[in-house]
Symmetry: none
Subunit: 244 residues, 4 copies
């Protein structure tokens, strides 16, 4: 007699959870953990204020779930953004592609950028969720990237040195994420136009490869003489674009 049970609730249970996660990602990215309010998240998710308590427990558990479950989509491979792992490309070309993909992923304001914006906040104001983030996302990528660096440098560099070089390359990309607001004020113009992003990617690639290869030559010129011409002109195609 009480067949008034709609088929909705069962699907709605998961749907509400998903909408809650999506809305929370946006609000956390925009306001940060502390300044984000559960009411705004629930309003944007079309859910009740008590839904967070029901589905996740409390605000912090929701935040952890956002960091865990709204990871960037696996585009190209388990280790790298884009298809930078393509084996048909040279190490330098994969380096260039990685830098470019990373930069675009960081800069764009699409739904994928939420994760990177939240991570930018975590670096300034770490929460307990940062440990998981580092272990699950950052460390694998960093390991992969260090392997790529070593392909370019060749042997003769310590693990520590490789790490420093990787940091130097990555830092140039993250700079435009972390300091974007300052740079916009410094230059007085929008920074995120696709054309500028291409130019930035070219510069960072050229700058970093120039440094890496020069350091490698200083360290042990012998190993890398196999293809010196190419190594010394990684920025050749980039240069042409820079002139426009």
């Amino acid at each position: 007699m009480s067949n008034a049970i709609p088929a909705e609730p069962r699907a709605s249970q998961a749907a509400t959870r998903r909408q809650l996660l999506s809305a929370a990602a946006g609000v956390f990215a925009e306001r940060g953990f502390r300044d984000a309010t559960v009411r705004e998240i629930c309003r944007k998710a079309g859910a009740n204020v008590a839904a967070i308590s029901y589905h996740f427990g409390d605000k912090e558990a929701l935040y952890s779930a956002v960091l865990r479950e709204t990871a960037p989509p696996p585009a190209g491979g388990p280790n790298a953004p884009g298809n930078a792992a393509d084996a048909t490309l040279s190490a330098e070309e994969r380096f260039a592609r990685y830098i470019r993909n990373f930069l675009f992923q960081i800069a764009e304001d699409g739904p994928d950028c939420l994760h990177s914006r939240i991570m930018a906040r975590e670096m300034i104001e770490p929460t307990r969720a940062l440990d998981h983030l580092v272990n699950d996302f950052i460390r694998p990528q960093h390991q992969w990237f260090q392997g790529l660096i070593r392909e370019i440098t060749g042997p003769g560099f310590t693990v520590e040195e490789i790490r420093l070089i990787a940091n130097s390359a990555i830092s140039q990309v993250l700079f435009y994420k972390h300091c974007g607001t300052v740079i916009e004020r410094l230059h007085g113009s929008a920074l995120l136009t696709p054309a500028r992003l291409e130019m930035l990617a070219d510069h960072i690639t050229a700058f970093s490869l120039a440094a890496i290869q020069t350091l490698a030559l200083q360290r042990g010129p012998v190993q890398r003489t196999a293809r010196p011409n190419r190594a010394l002109r990684p920025s050749t195609p980039s240069r042409t674009r820079l002139t426009r």
Copy 2:
């Protein structure tokens, strides 16, 4: 007999203001503008909650005053940290010294680091105070640094290219400020030891000068051939001279 201990309350006028500024710098650096509470600031400053209203107007005005008045001390020159402007040094040496000074200033946990920590927050979560910060502190330093870069590259680079190179160098320093918490978790060890800072400074200098000089050679090899040997080993002299 009533020669009691005077001169305290008279000095208290400015002293309270100073203690308020100092306490506020710490709390703002630790918690950020929104999450910092005036009660905690006043408690640490040994003052009443109404003292902020009296001396500064409100919380935001106190924040602006902190950014304005707790600026890093002018060490060495009006434009650059340390005595990087020393004219007796080569451009590369001044570059190395600037990087090292900047890195130490950013990394150390003394009272001077509060300013840089607050600025790191401003980049993620800008407030209205950021505009003044950029114009008063960041822009002059950036201009000075770009001039230094041009000394090293020589002519042949556009303003835009110089700016990109300056960003690439600076970003490697800021990386250890913005991503310090992540790097500590990645490497599992403290990052702020003086020995590691020296090593980081050497690496960033070597990496950046290698890139700059290689790009300069590619652009116009003629100008910089005067002292190529020295240019290729920038860290060696820097290390010995800069060790205090």
Copy 3:
């Protein structure tokens, strides 16, 4: 066994709101908008301080709701207090009844008097809510009352003159609301006894009708000669009929 006492919290939804309105009316009437505290209102309503925010938004919205929703009950007709609109009565008798009803409504210390006390405050210290009050409550009554005045005066008076006469009549009633505290001190006795109110109503009616009819006679004696005797003794019939 779990047939516990329900229906309470369900009703509590509206009940809390109602108690909040009731308590707020009292506190606003007693202290005025600015000096009334939400804490006192909530304490008297048996609710939490946040209840006001939840049900109304903020203190000012609660105040507007009090003015809107605790309006005097429509006793007798949509336009006038009491059944002063009874068509079987002469204009003078309706005038007498209106004055008496108005006076009793204003003077009594029941829950209905809160509205008039708040309005008395609005006249001295207007808030943004006054505009709505004037348009929704005062203007309709004033229009109706002016129509009644014109019935008594007959033609020959301008709209402006009718308005002045209406003001003169109303003002004698409001006087005992606005200056009640002074009058109590002047006469040294309580003012609000029903016997005194009857006497006041009779006096105001007699005084006002005497003035109106005399002015009408001076203006155009012809129209009102129909029943001059009755017009000149308005308080006699009013007294006997209105005594409930």
Copy 4:
């Protein structure tokens, strides 16, 4: 040797007190006792915040002093505003003059109006100072006015009846003080123009005298037959003004 004592302070002592009173009168009139802040009063008086404590004790003592010492200037006599006590005029003429003077005193926004505005507040929200106000200012005026009324009515009225009549007359004036903000909203025009005040004074006088004389005729027509013509046309000159 220490002849640095200026002659200023002694005069300044009284001057500061006076400026404090003057500024306080304005602020109290505008904001009311509770909403007036000592800081605003001191700022307008050009004095220190502690000056109030020094000269008067506290805020409430200052308020009492304002009510006591900023009484309306004795214009025309100790008992009545204006020269309404002029013995060469008839009672009706003195009545008209009193109404007119009272209305202008109440309506104008000059420094003299402060006292009446504060008193209007006292009626709604009495403070302990009201008792003194009533005894020192209101009661004498009311007594005088009742005597004037009795001159017009002649004998045959009880003290209570005279009081009611006096209230009816006064209330019509106070109405435009207490309900000014409402009337402005009702009529949509400024109320305080001198031309309107003249018209209001004429109306109130005509209305009240018409009522008084009619009531007197009803009570005992014999006594007033001495000068019936004049008594019955007190508004004759007013009428001419009303038509403009």
